[in-house]
């Protein structure tokens, strides 16, 4: 026996090593769907150790690289920042107008969803994280990020970029987390094709591609169609961009169904920063609601500023003798209330202006009040149609005209010195 052991010692040791690992594998995969299932505590402990050793050094590598790049971008490559800033400002203005235009649709959609008792998930809170590592193998498409349970992350939280969906958190450690990408063979998410409204399940393939499976051959799917999350998987909120359709191919494993190859919107092979959605809710977040309101206000201003001859910038502000703005002429003050433009030749279809209204009201109450008053009384003579001045409030052209009441007219004129002179009405 001794000689047998000494003769085959190496082989026996190898067999023992392999056997122990095979048993370990068998213990780990007792449950079905092993690739996506949670680890046992012992296995998790080993992952925790390895990740705890590797992650800090990966973060150090990343920090060094970012430091070098930051020095380059921060101090050397500053040319063009001013023009870029102007472009971004224009972009912000454009987006504000778009958001304002879409705001009403959003509210209508919310009302309809409430009527139909739909559950729409809005993103309340996200945590930005840096990608610090990978699994190192092309068989396992997972990422490591530098945020963990101490930052509020939990398993199954969606991970996105502004471009599209990246994946979901699979395992969470103290200061890092493992993210399963959507192109891994073990991943799956509910998607919907944006124009055809076809629902399906998007899965990763062994080659690292993404495809929607179980599609009937008679479906009319065109390449280039956008794919968004459907929200049906209870992980990802509805409406997030996922990718675009590349082509439809036959699926030999699931004949006669077809598979739709999808090109992910998120650049999965070149990720640096991601957002982890840590909180979702069924009503529009307060921040988005306030953004929507401010965008609606700002959109009117931006539109008005673009109208020719309607500039109310600082140069239009009336200055006093000492070079300072007159009282009520603060250039930083918000735009004055809207005043409707007055028609040159009004007819019976023209909206009534306050002068006419006041005249009519005054005429009803005191027929003589509409008559011109003597200058000695200190009252200005009545002018039936106020002149259109270039200095009229720009917002007046953007906001729908609302006839003001006689009581409100002097008040608005007091706030807006550039508004047309309002006739005074004798009671």
């Amino acid at each position: 026996m001794e000689s047998f052991y000494s003769r085959y010692r190496n082989v026996l040791l190898l067999v023992a090593l392999l056997l122990a690992q095979v048993i370990g594998l068998a213990v780990q995969v007792r449950r079905p769907a092993a690739a996506d299932s949670k680890d046992a505590p012992q296995v998790r402990l080993i992952r925790y150790w390895v990740t705890g050793i590797v992650s800090p050094l990966e973060e150090f590598f990343l920090w060094t690289g970012h430091g070098i790049r930051g020095a380059w971008h921060g101090y050397i490559n500053l040319r063009g920042v001013r023009s870029q800033n102007q472009l971004l400002q224009a972009e912000v203005d454009r987006l504000r107008m778009e958001q304002a235009a879409l705001g009403e649709d959003v509210r209508q959609g919310q009302r309809l969803q409430a009527l139909l008792n739909f559950k729409q998930q809005y993103i309340y809170q996200t945590v930005a994280a840096q990608v610090i590592g990978t699994s190192g193998t092309d068989r396992s498409r997972v990422l490591y990020i530098d945020k963990g349970s101490k930052d509020g992350l939990r398993a199954d939280m969606p991970v996105i970029t502004p471009d599209g969906v990246v994946g979901k958190v699979r395992d969470v450690f103290g200061h890092s987390a493992q993210v399963l990408e959507i192109n891994d063979a073990a991943s799956g998410l509910g998607v919907i094709l944006q124009s055809t409204r076809l629902r399906g399940i998007l899965r990763g393939t062994a080659e690292g591609k993404t495809e929607i499976i179980n599609i009937l051959p008679d479906e009319q799917i065109q390449p280039g169609e956008a794919v968004i999350t459907s929200g049906g998987d209870q992980v990802y909120p509805r409406g997030l961009p996922v990718g675009v359709v590349e082509r439809v191919v036959s699926d030999p494993e699931r004949a006669p169904y077809m598979a739709v190859l999808v090109r992910p919107d998120a650049k999965l092979s070149r990720l640096e920063e991601v957002l982890v959605i840590t909180q979702m809710g069924s009503v529009l977040p307060a921040q988005e609601e306030s953004d929507l309101i401010s965008s609606e206000q700002r959109a009117a201003d931006v539109l008005a500023q673009r109208l020719p001859g309607q500039d109310t910038g600082p140069e239009q502000t009336k200055l006093g003798p000492n070079g300072k703005p007159l009282p009520g002429q603060d250039p930083n003050a918000p735009p004055p209330p809207a005043q409707p433009p007055l028609p040159l030749h009004p007819d019976r279809f023209s909206p009534p202006n306050e002068a006419d209204t006041a005249t009519a009201v005054g005429a009803q109450t005191a027929p003589d009040a509409a008559m011109p008053q003597p200058a000695s009384t200190g009252k200005k003579p009545h002018r039936k149609h106020a002149p259109i001045t270039p200095a009229a409030t720009p917002a007046a052209n953007a906001v729908p005209a609302q006839p003001t009441t006689p009581a409100a007219a002097p008040d608005s004129a007091a706030h807006d010195s550039t508004a047309p002179t309002q006739p005074e009405v004798q009671p």
């Binding site: 040791l13 392999l18 594998l25 996506d36 990978t134 699994s135 190192g136 396992s140 063979a185 062994a206």
Partner: protein, 173 residues
Amino acid sequence: MALLDHNTREEIRQHRFHPVVFLLVPFFAILLQAYLPLRHASFTLVDLPLCVTVYFAVSRRNPVSGALLGTGIGLAQDALTHFPLGIQGITKAVAGYLAASVGARIDVDNPGTRFLMMFFFTLLDSLLRYLIVRLLLNLQMEWFLGHELLRATLNALVAVIMFAFLDRLRQRE
């Protein structure tokens, strides 16, 4: 490939390394393997930990230590994936054991030998992994011969360069 006769084989000494080298080189191989694909996604084709396993196994020429080193490196790699622990532990244990056995019989200091050896061990590693994943775990995994041949060639090229660098870390007798 230069086979060693009985007398030459007796003259072969086990190359010795400082314990720090023996610990740090595998660790940095795992670290770089996890980090470099962030910069270049195609780096996942290269398997630095396998190169290190084979190098130390053929240098030490001890099958037991080769198998143990392969098991340790493989388990650490498994821990970074979402697969069960043990897949690469098994494949690298086999690779380490066989590499040490081969190192006792073949002149492994020749670059051509190293290239062929690494080419073979990369293919063996891929084949074992495929068999374990498909047969033992019943998980989805495809075998693309062209991909595996490309991977083996790349690994062999990297290994030739890497082995030349690691030769400098040997302790002189």
